[in-house]
Symmetry: C2
Subunit: 344 residues, 2 copies
């Protein structure tokens, strides 16, 4: 086969156009699940899919499937794709490259006259980002049938709205959520193009990396309740400062990753909010969200347990009440070796 | 003189009515300087002043003066008062007791048929709370002529608006700010009724305390700039996490107060915000606001310098950039011994 007529300028234009669809002004972008910007971004991508004459389906949680049918419809298709939701003040490539890059690949294949034997199906996953509900990969978890009804029922965003509220608001409420789960072997393979988000490849001047192992995230939410009061009136020994308990926890999270024994363990306190948040008020409450990842289960588990043990120790010493919730604890995964070889 | 006909139920009703004027639902209250709630609260208090036939004057920063003239107008009046602005989610008594309590005292004196020789002037100080501009006692600082033009010129709130923007919006913009400063000896005395905001009196069942020394606050604002990145992709040794630098600083602030050698040293990190604040993002920026108070200058100065020294140490080790700003550094003050004796 001749080299494909991939046009990076065309792809870049699509990326820039999608980046302009945002809740905040450029150069960063924000597209929280089912926000007005997320819905406009979905419309933008579906419009490209239609121009490429792909067959579009949307499921009950808003996952979008855009299929280029193959000549042998008895074969399960190859799937590719990513997400277009974006965390607050995100860059323009995360997720987007996997969606618009796939569309550019299909466009180039079509122009070259190629006709696939297996179908090629682009999937735009709903809420890969945990921004609204604190749990990432919401759409793909539902596709995999790995979220229990109970787990779904307790999902709430900061305003207290649940998933049903939002999917109905976004016009995906007609079908039951149970209809989202896919049969095993629906696809013959799944491949995703993704921007590298760490500094290593760039530092060593390597143009592309192939993911062999996936360091699945575990997410903890911690709520701390101390005792507020006036910063000028509550003497130091009387204090039960929720922020200071949170500060110690954030440092313990870092320490757990640094001391795990594996260079791949990463732990991050990415959310840290306090109340009341006034300079002359002792903080009475704090909320932390912690992301822990590892490529290996034993060091991941050891770090997770070290973090979870540090919380009661710190809070007991400071007289601060705590509530820990495991939002998700996923296992590290290994990529299909045949696909890895194909890319290499 | 007979005991005054003070009616605590009438005072409580006024307090409850003012508490209902708030940007947030009860039981807490928020009245940030020149917000719609602050303006309504001002109108509520001025209405009571008018019913008591006090003479009202407002200055260029919105300080309110309500005078009950004395029989000898050649004598400087006695001043009393406090503030009605309220930090986010505040209780109903802070400041308010000093304003409405003074009005109840005037009302009771009037009912009893008393006619003062010296005038009695109620002052409602603008922005005792630092919520909007990060500096407390804004109105009284201007009355004392202790804020330089340069200092006023750089005041900004979170949205970037300055003091002139807000005082014009609140219709106090006609006069120059320089007109606010009072002459020395404008008042013969100043006395303020205030709710006790610490647990000590309550613990020892003492009904009233008399302030002999004022532990004036020093306020620092610290801005930290680290390096963001994806929580799954930036390995631990590559990180320059602004939140973790902030966490260490908050703990150093606590330690400085605990180790000052004086039981009266209190230090609080009351504001702690991070960006981007997403669970899977390494925090790239943090803002802290620190309140340090002491009744004695030497221990206050030692703690302040210990805090200010800790910041570069922590930030250098973590590769995080910092900017420290002293929003105010006030000296501890001693109350008028004659007034203290009068109350005792």
């Amino acid at each position: 086969m001749n080299p494909l007529p991939i046009e990076s300028s065309r792809l870049q234009r699509d990326i820039d156009e999608l980046a302009a669809i945002s809740e905040v002004p450029p150069p960063v972008g924000t597209r929280v699940l089912f926000s007005e910007a997320d819905l406009r971004a979905r419309a933008f991508v579906k419009d490209i899919c239609q121009k490429l004459q792909l067959t579009i389906r949307e499921d009950a949680v808003g996952n979008i499937f855009a299929r280029w049918s193959g000549s042998d419809t008895s074969l399960p298709p190859v799937a590719t794709g990513s997400h277009i939701d974006a965390i607050p003040n995100a860059g323009r490539y995360d997720g987007v490259v996997g969606v618009l890059g796939a569309l550019e690949a299909i466009r180039a294949l079509q122009i070259s006259g190629f006709r696939p034997r297996r179908g090629i199906e682009l999937i735009i996953f709903t809420a890969e980002e945990p921004t609204r509900f604190g749990i990432g990969c919401l759409g793909s978890r539902l596709l995999a049938g790995s979220l229990s009804r109970e787990r779904i029922a307790v999902l709430r965003d900061r305003e207290g709205h649940n998933l049903d509220y939002w999917r109905k608001k976004a016009s995906f409420g007609a079908q039951d959520l149970e209809s989202v789960a896919l049969q095993k072997n629906t696809y013959s393979a799944f491949i995703e193009l993704h921007i590298v988000q760490g500094p290593l490849l760039e530092k060593e001047n390597i143009p592309i990396g192939v993911v062999e192992k996936i360091a699945a995230p575990s997410t903890l939410r911690i709520e701390l309740t101390g005792l507020g009061g006036h910063a000028g009136a509550v003497l130091m020994p009387e204090r039960h400062d929720a922020l200071l308990a949170g500060a110690e926890i954030a440092l313990a999270v870092e320490k757990a990753a640094l001391n795990s024994g594996s260079p791949d363990t990463v732990a991050t306190t990415g959310v840290f909010r306090i109340e009341p948040g006034a300079v002359n008020s002792v903080p009475c409450r704090a909320w932390l969200e912690i992301d822990l990842r590892d490529t290996q289960l034993p060091t991941r588990d050891a770090s997770l347990s070290r973090i979870e043990k540090s919380v009661p120790e710190i809070c007991k010493r400071r007289g601060v009440e705590f509530h820990i919730e495991r939002l998700n604890v996923d296992e590290p995964a290994t990529a299909d070796p045949d696909l890895v070889k194909t890319v290499l």
